[in-house]
């Protein structure tokens, strides 16, 4: 994995603060569990409200975690006045999302001036055993000098 140098030494605090303001993550019950420059991990405990018809984690939840883990991986490399948005992503679901919780790990493949490309893997964790259930690749866009909050 490539080594990245964050432009903002306070990247971890700023990323945690941004994550905390994502209403959807708290609605799902997801937490940010690891952050390093260019990488991010998110965990989400299972509950029936997040299931599809077989009681696996819903594919939409897998995609959401993959997207957000990649997005915040890219966000760790942003400047202190930048924000970020997802442009597109693609997801392969390779196994049912099964287990006590999901863990999504995203990492930056390329950090460009405007666009960043990331990959994320999502695992179902059951009794400590991780099974890959989804893998995603995405493009994020840097918004320079833009508040990381609602537009005024």
């Amino acid at each position: 994995m490539a080594e990245f140098t964050p432009r903002n030494p306070g990247f971890a605090e700023r990323t945690r603060s941004s994550f905390a303001r994502q209403g959807f993550m708290s609605y799902l019950g997801a937490e940010l569990t690891a952050l390093t420059p260019g990488a991010c991990e998110i965990r989400l405990p299972y509950r029936d409200e997040l299931s599809q018809q077989h009681r696996y984690f819903h594919g939409g939840v897998i995609g959401t975690l993959a997207d957000n883990a990649g997005g915040y991986a890219a966000f760790t490399l942003m400047g202190k006045d930048d924000s970020i948005l997802t442009v597109e992503f693609k997801l392969n679901i390779v196994a049912p999302g099964e287990g006590e919780f999901l863990v999504a790990r995203g990492h930056v493949v390329r950090a460009g001036r405007t666009l960043s490309v990331c990959r994320s893997d999502v695992f179902g964790v059951d009794g400590g055993v991780e099974t890959l259930c989804g893998t995603a690749q995405m493009t994020l866009m840097r918004l320079a000098d833009r508040s990381d909050g609602p537009a005024d």
Binding site: N92, V94, V109, R110, V117, L132, T135, Q137, T139
Partner: protein, 151 residues
């Protein structure tokens, strides 16, 4: 990366024979690099006939060897007497294909009974420096009939 057990002990020979039948790989001058269970590399030297308007490798070349490398990575894990076809892929171009040669490196993420998912990255080499110019993610299907059979 996970260790994969090939279902065909002669997987490397099967890959070489199949690759030799891909007319387009010969047309553009691509050749096979390393082959291991779940992994395949394809090399493509620069040629003026392969460029886009700025003199870089055309994106279609990057796609072609990225896709083929993924296909053959999946094929290393195919049962004997079967074939592999691409179902879909997505690719991000991250830098111009500016250099003396391209190398596609593809890795199987999951090989199921019917479908396989692979990651394939394409690197461009220029004056000893290596730059990842594309990243892709693809789905392949195993077809249970020998090569040469009409599907």
């Amino acid at each position: 990366m996970a260790d994969f057990e090939p279902r065909n002990p002669d997987y490397a020979e099967a890959v070489r024979q199949s690759f030799a039948r891909q007319g387009v790989m010969a047309t553009i001058g691509a050749r096979l690099g390393d082959i291991r269970p779940g992994y395949c590399e394809i090399h493509l030297p620069f040629d003026d006939g392969l460029t886009q308007q700025d003199g870089y490798f055309h994106g279609a070349m990057i796609c072609a060897i990225g896709d083929s490398a993924a296909g053959y990575a999946a094929f290393t894990l195919a049962p004997p007497e079967s074939r592999v076809l691409t179902v879909e892929y997505k690719i991000n171009f991250m830098a111009p294909g500016d250099g003396e040669r391209l190398v596609a490196r593809a890795q199987v993420i999951k090989a199921g009974r019917t479908l396989a998912v692979c990651e394939s990255d394409v690197f461009v080499f220029k004056g000893g420096a290596e730059t990842r110019c594309a990243a892709s993610l693809q789905t392949l299907i195993y077809i249970n009939s020998p090569p040469g059979d009409a599907a």
